[in-house]
Symmetry: D2
Subunit: 346 residues, 4 copies
């Protein structure tokens, strides 16, 4: 931690700060510049965050900046090799680019079975589908709840696809875990800390979507919550952030993929459906996701998008999904070659 004092901070203020630092169990290393004093805080074992908070509030301090990462288990320093997560027939984070596909919402048996069979045939390894739906409006369809979970389980039996579905409240974690292979945390719940803690205690892998206005660091902190509460099977998902641009539903921060690869060992998934909000843009963004080195993608597909109860505009038709998977195959080959080369190198 580095503390920079205000220009003109008094000697007494500087002394008081150094005393506070020592009370927190750290050593002090102070640098007298021409304009101001800067203090390095060194040592382990003390509570860095609490010390930082305290110093920020202490008279004479201009800024207190943490140098070390605030997360631990999810960092590349903690674990050099990529985390792999086995789900059904797929291994996420390994040497296969994994596709998850399905409708935004589970709507009926026919809809989910038809979609599941089609996406399995086209190469998906997981079936997505919402049974609990976070909707901006209280008047919109809120999901089939347990009935929807049962349909997902039925589709899994029929197709062999693993199931990923969203959980919206810590109250529902056990129920959803009874049916799902992967527990999805939606963007709006990325900092629902009660939910994160409950997922730390459930035995299922978790897909954590980045919040609309969450930094990459905050995404990692939320993943750290799940891991610190006992569950190391976490994958991260870039699904677009909120910016001033309105041509797309969100702005895909595609560079987050290599940034995360430098910072963490956890797998990274891209969601080109929510990132664009528009069917015609999904295949192009999917190519970019493969090329930039994501571990997989999660895509919305619906047998008849105009009859979808939610997200129809961004859902691919079944034929559209097939075409996309075909057009991606060359990119996925390059991806695989690079991943295998990396594995040999490590």
């Amino acid at each position: 931690m580095i503390i920079s004092m205000r220009p003109g901070a008094t000697k007494r203020e500087v002394e008081h700060v150094t005393e506070r630092i020592r009370e927190f169990g750290f050593r002090v290393h102070s640098i007298e510049g021409e304009e101001r004093v800067v203090i390095g805080v060194v040592g382990v074992g003390g509570d860095v965050e609490a010390c930082l908070e305290s110093l920020e509030a202490t008279p004479g301090v201009e800024k207190a900046v943490r140098i070390s990462a605030p997360y631990k288990f999810v960092s590349r320093e903690f674990r050099k090799e990529r985390t792999t997560i086995r789900v059904g027939a797929a291994e996420i984070g390994g040497d296969e680019f994994v596709t998850m596909a399905g409708p935004c919402s589970v709507e009926s048996e026919q809809q989910i079975m038809e979609t599941a069979e089609a996406v399995a045939a086209a190469g998906a390894k997981l079936l997505r589908g919402g049974a609990f739906k976070p909707r901006t409006s209280p008047y919109d369809f809120q999901g089939m709840e347990e009935a929807g979970l049962k349909l997902l389980a039925k589709a899994r039996e029929a197709t062999g696809l693993a199931v990923i579905t969203e959980v919206m409240s810590d109250r529902d974690v056990d129920l959803v875990a009874d049916y799902a292979d992967v527990m999805q945390i939606g963007a709006r719940n990325m900092q629902n800390f009660a939910l994160l803690k409950a997922l730390g205690r459930c035995g299922r892998p978790v897909l954590l979507k980045r919040g609309l206005s969450s930094t990459i660091k905050e995404l990692l902190m939320s993943a750290e919550y799940v891991v610190a509460h006992g569950n190391s099977q976490v994958m991260l998902c870039e699904r677009g952030i909120r910016t001033f641009e309105t041509a797309t539903r969100n702005t895909c921060d595609i560079t987050a993929v290599p940034v995360l690869n430098e910072m963490t060992h956890l797998p990274v998934i891209v969601d080109p459906s929510h990132a664009t909000g528009k069917r015609s843009l999904v295949p192009a963004l999917a190519k970019a996701a493969v090329a930039i080195g994501a571990d997989g993608m999660i895509v919305e597909v619906h047998p008849c998008p105009e009859k979808a109860v939610s997200d129809g505009a961004q859902s691919l038709t079944i034929q559209g999904f097939r075409d996309m998977m075909r057009d991606l195959s060359g990119y996925i080959e390059l991806w695989k070659k690079e991943r295998l080369a990396e594995m040999v190198a490590v």
Copy 2:
């Protein structure tokens, strides 16, 4: 709703769209422009949102735009007069500017009692203090939970202040409602729909903080959730949004106050502590909040900010709070004069 078709949409596509509109129970009013067809959707009783979603996903449609507001109960059209919410000795939304003050977190009996007495003496009507704390890091202090709620209740008894405190999970709603006068929903939970529904069913007034990247319309939609589930005692809180600017912790969208006053009858509270993140800026922003016509403010105060377990940098000292309240008095007089004039006018 207005549907604009793509330039070059076929006659068949236009017909298909008009059929879909009629299936949803609306009338069609179509305008043939030079470049494209635009279709007005008229009528009541149909499901506007579902129709919109469907049309957005229908071939040939370029854009579907809703003209009517997606919320109802919270709108000014639904209710012309301001909603007033009585809490303890205060009436929020009425002819008093209401101040809520206290520490970020409840830390100890001494801390909360000392703060409560001081802020009551300086003019606050509600005591704020967190017992359940949403913290970015799993390693930070997570709150005293029920023990904290008990201390808040004790401070209420001693001072007559009403208590406002945060609830983070639908699981905790009943517990928190046992102690709190106002249930606070934090910015990160503004779209925690399970929590919003549970608060609709609790008997307590709710203060709903705007999410870091939530639009004003989304804030109103979240308030609509609470009202539609049975609780009309909702106040809204502008606490700063996330932008590219880093000189302050958040960017206070102060204009949201008059915007909300045009759109809704619900009271609007400003939080100058989170909006700035910096003690020295709080009093100036509080003046602006009064001048622009907010119904009240919620401010962090701590007897010794540098020993605070959270948000010390933005907490006023007790003396700082007293000074601010004194400096605000002229502005509050003007506020009151304008509010009374408005009441006479209505």
Copy 3:
């Protein structure tokens, strides 16, 4: 400057960095933490920015952070007392809240004369009006150019108002300076460095509008350009920044006013017209601007907004301007009392 090395940076890399620092004429103060080495760069006379750029690009360096401010002349450290700028009958930055008002564009003699007389009567001290107009579309009205400047000069003669008008190119600086009392730099030109340099050499005060996505620090750096090139008569203008919110044309970062007051001695003006984009919101935001301590405001007024060639939706009518000035008077009295108290204190 503080350089933090990557965890695991080699000894050689650390040595290379310290050599580079010494080559730039600075002293090195290195701190060995448990995880990494952090290096303090101390001394004056060296080129801080160049050193910073170099170190950021040097192997083994994780981050290089400048501690001292990158601007000098505009900082509060350089000059403790507020800068005052005399323009016609007004002194900006002094003990009067200064109002600048007028149409977005100069359109005709009748329009500008009528507006000038009305705003002067209602208390404005400067007349605004664009003769060179930055328009998003090449097909929109681009301004009356010199003919417009002549009309502004004529209005000045008739009313005694000083004239503020925009200059868009370094090529036009001399021409505009022949007619204007204050040279306005629009938000889109805040980092038009050729223009900033030219304004440094012109003999007129400058009003520098903050760019739509410019940080407060960048605004100060642009002001530093003008001052460093010879012109210390610069005032800054907060006119709203671009965020995700669409309920208003821009988001007014009202807290920028006290932030700037801590960082710089230059006057700060608020533009409630562009910050809101909507006539009905202007008076409320103007109150906030006064209350938070701005030195003045610049407001759009038009005799018949619906016939305005630009910005009609955010222009006050003449009667609207009169009403606003009347309603502001109580706030301006409080402003004046506080400003005089500050002057006594200093």
Copy 4:
């Protein structure tokens, strides 16, 4: 254009609006909804933008929304086939992915010659290098100006690379056009309309960088300025936008590439150097740029980044550039196959 009246707008207000529309030369098509009147404005020949501005400012109007695009020449409706721009040996927008590479600033003959030779050998077709530098600080290196242009010309002679370099003021357009093959407009000048007009009249192709907070629509409007003033040889450049994320220098809106491909026939270039700000992220983003269908990229390369006077942290070394070009080759092959297939299809 669609005008939605406020709920409760009077009959007189509606009549006044329809009169105004007719005065502008349009036909009126009005729809009476349950809550409000919505008015369709139909016809050609009238001044759409002026009519829109007027109606937005007219009493009773809630919102006026333009349906047709505000640009013309740059739209896909105006021209179905891609625009190709021949520069030296390269054809941008055609069947080759074009790489532009070189240092941020021209610093010395040795630096520019060494870089030019190296990037030419590795496959670049254009040499980039700044002679006029837009720098946030007045104290930073401002470029070698004409001496730098001369060095670029010399490098062109030696290597056959075409030259792309930035012009910052309309005053310098002729000078820069004497040396450059492509005139670059920097992000901060995207709405420097005086400069855009001057570039419309120069005989050189233009690369127009997207502003830090500019929407895709505004980027197209700025391109329309250049084309409307006589120069149809414009290419667009996505170089990252400003968001709240600080892990990268900017946030690359990679989806802007397919969005632009739907909206315009102009070529689109990606700048992975400015979009990331960090050398280690450039190659991954370059892959995404190829995969998503950009027409080319512009990359910063320096023989010794830590000695670069600007942007060292994001500059590739010469070896780094070679490695990247080698790793891109598989992606570029796929790109070419798809482009050729598209050409056959059209």
